[in-house]
């Protein structure tokens, strides 16, 4: 965040224009479908909320432009601050007041908290941001458009240990279900790949000082350091490790795909996994997504944009199937439509959903060079 961010301002302008967009959509006729979002829009994780919303907004724009649905869609945002309690209140409002049929969620703890509410009300919840492995099969109505964490480490370790010969890995992980999941994945995965876990250091979600942790990490003499956190904390960890004598390669997972990380000078050379997306050489849908995203938000899209775009696009496809069949659009029919079709054209290529509603996707390994992602493996 050291340089001016034209993207942010453009984004703000675009969202300010949204109410008007909604009004013109209403003219199309029919009661709008309500699409809820449960994202952190304030507090230390608010950057994610902004990113997640942008992806969803672009998909709404495309659904409207393509006239996919007979009825318009209204976006109803509820702020969770990434806290479970706020999320449950918001989810209850979405279910009972707004009558949302489809809700976008993020964050492991939030997802786990709202899942029972959505399950009872039979509302489809789609996660495109959190990667805790226990999010799989949380409810028949809880789907994931993001590959969960164990898939990411499985893709990373063979490359890191096998090709790069980085055998001793130290781990800094946030003390929450996500961090525990990555700890578990590395503990199992590293020996299999021929490496060892040199040390693991858990930090609270609110921690800001990492110089002492850096000192502890240096003691373990690692070949590389894996960072498993999210939000503002990630950049803080990267910067402070680099400032405090850790020159070894830094590794991580898809949560690093944020502008604030890319704009952190110390993040240069960071190696992390994301799902595979080829914006330049991909199919027509991916190209259109990349081009229109750039046009609307004046910045390059990242994987979160893709995931939430896909989630909303998926809603468009499923609701259109129901409209064509003359069925109402609700949680049950959406789920039936998903299980009926299974495979969808999504950004990043064809996506296939398993019985639990998880999108299976290929993973790639990226390196951050000059503030941009470069695919280096996978």
């Amino acid at each position: 965040m050291n340089r001016p961010q034209p993207g942010r301002r453009a984004l703000l302008g675009a969202t300010l224009a949204l109410p008007f967009l909604g009004r013109s959509a209403l003219a199309q006729g029919g009661e709008p479908y309500v699409l809820g979002t449960l994202f952190p829009m304030s507090g230390p994780n608010a950057e994610y909320g902004t990113v997640f919303t942008a992806g969803a907004q672009l998909a709404l724009q495309h659904i409207e432009a393509d006239k996919v649905l007979k009825r318009p869609i209204r976006l109803q945002a509820e702020d969770t601050q990434a806290l479970p309690q706020q999320a449950v209140v918001g989810m209850t409002k979405l279910a009972n007041v707004d009558k949302a049929s489809f809700v976008l969620v993020g964050f492991t703890a939030v997802s786990k908290a709202v899942a029972p509410v959505g399950d009872r009300a039979k509302i489809v919840m789609v996660n495109g941001g959190a990667v805790g492995p226990d999010l799989s099969g949380l409810s028949p109505y809880f789907w994931n458009t993001i590959p969960l964490a164990h898939l990411e480490t499985e893709a990373l370790l063979p490359y890191i240990v096998g090709e790069r010969k980085l055998k001793r890995i130290a781990l800094v992980y946030v003390d929450d279900p996500l961090g525990d999941a990555i700890l578990g994945a590395l503990r199992d995965g590293l020996p299999k790949a021929g490496g060892t876990l040199a040390g693991s250091f858990s930090v609270p979600r609110t921690a800001q000082q990492f110089a002492p942790v850096a000192a502890r990490i240096r003691q373990t003499r690692p070949d590389a350091v894996y960072i498993a956190s999210f939000g503002a904390q990630q950049s803080q960890i990267i910067k402070q490790l680099r400032d405090n004598g850790i020159s070894q390669p830094l590794l991580s997972y898809s949560a690093m795909n944020l502008d604030s990380v890319k704009n952190t000078a110390e993040a240069e050379g960071l190696i992390f996994t994301t799902q595979k997306t080829d914006f330049a050489g991909g199919d027509a849908m991916t190209k259109r997504f990349a081009a229109d995203f750039k046009a609307r938000f004046n910045s390059d899209p990242g994987t979160y944009h893709v995931n939430y775009y896909n989630a909303v696009w998926l809603f468009g496809q499923l609701a259109a199937m129901n409209e064509a069949a003359g069925r109402p659009v609700d949680g049950e029919t959406l789920r039936a439509a998903l299980l009926e079709k299974r495979e969808f054209d999504l950004v990043g290529g064809k996506g296939r959903f398993d019985d639990k509603g998880n999108l299976t996707a290929a993973i790639q390994v990226n390196e951050l060079r000059g503030g941009a992602l470069t695919r280096i493996a996978g």
Binding site: A207, A211, P212, V213, A215, R216, Q240
Partner: protein, 289 residues
Amino acid sequence: MLFLQLLQGGVQTGALYALTAAGFALIFGATRIFHFAHGAAFTLAGYAFLMAWNAGWPWPLGALAAIAVAVLFGVAIEQLVYRPIGRHEGGFFTVFVAAFGVSIVVQNLVGMIAGRGFAVIDTPLSRATEVLPDLWIAPVFYVAIGVSALLFLALSLFLTRSHAGVALRALAQNPDLIRTYGLSSTRLSILAFALGSALAAPAAILTGMTVGLNEAMGHHVMLISMAATIVGGVGNLKGAALAGLLLGIAESVALAFVEPQWAEAVSFVVLFGFILFRPSGLFGVAVAR
């Protein structure tokens, strides 16, 4: 060597804690206002410097801007929030809740204007080099110690040599005395807020270089300042500063013995223990209240 490294890191953090704690203690001592929004002054100062720095201003100008913003905020909150409340009842917790509201507003305004998430003041000062085997020290360490020492020297000279400074100290001891001598406690309390808030600025700038800034950071700073004020003994600036330093060291050195997730609790165990067993603080006279 790990211990030495952790001690060094603790001193660096502690020096900055000492500055903010002294500011908080100054305000609290002179006005008895529990300035819960002190962290907001810290956040604002940090972002003011960041913006000036990114706009290409030379650093002394940026530092002045940061101090100006902090002072302005401190005086404004004293005039607009604390004073009207004080006129009514001035209940300790009424002030607390009002200040809490202000810090929520500041945090979210900063997020809206400066962008949410992490931001860092990018300087080579924070980059550590290996000075001894396995002991890494960044130039900012010397800056932090130098700045803190200088400011404390200046502050204690001001408090002991200048008329206003002596009056401020007297106000902390006995508000009625001041009135008898015909001094305006209103102007003194503005002075306390201005000085106390200004002390947060250098700490905010240096923190922005090492740890980085985010709009929610004021919270932690405020907690540490408050803890240091209590541990140091209310109304005792030296005590607050020393306690701030000790809390910084404790937080860091704790990592030699416990896992990182317990580090924050260590500071507050220290606080809790102090209140139970030595409520008068480090060098407090017995404060039987």
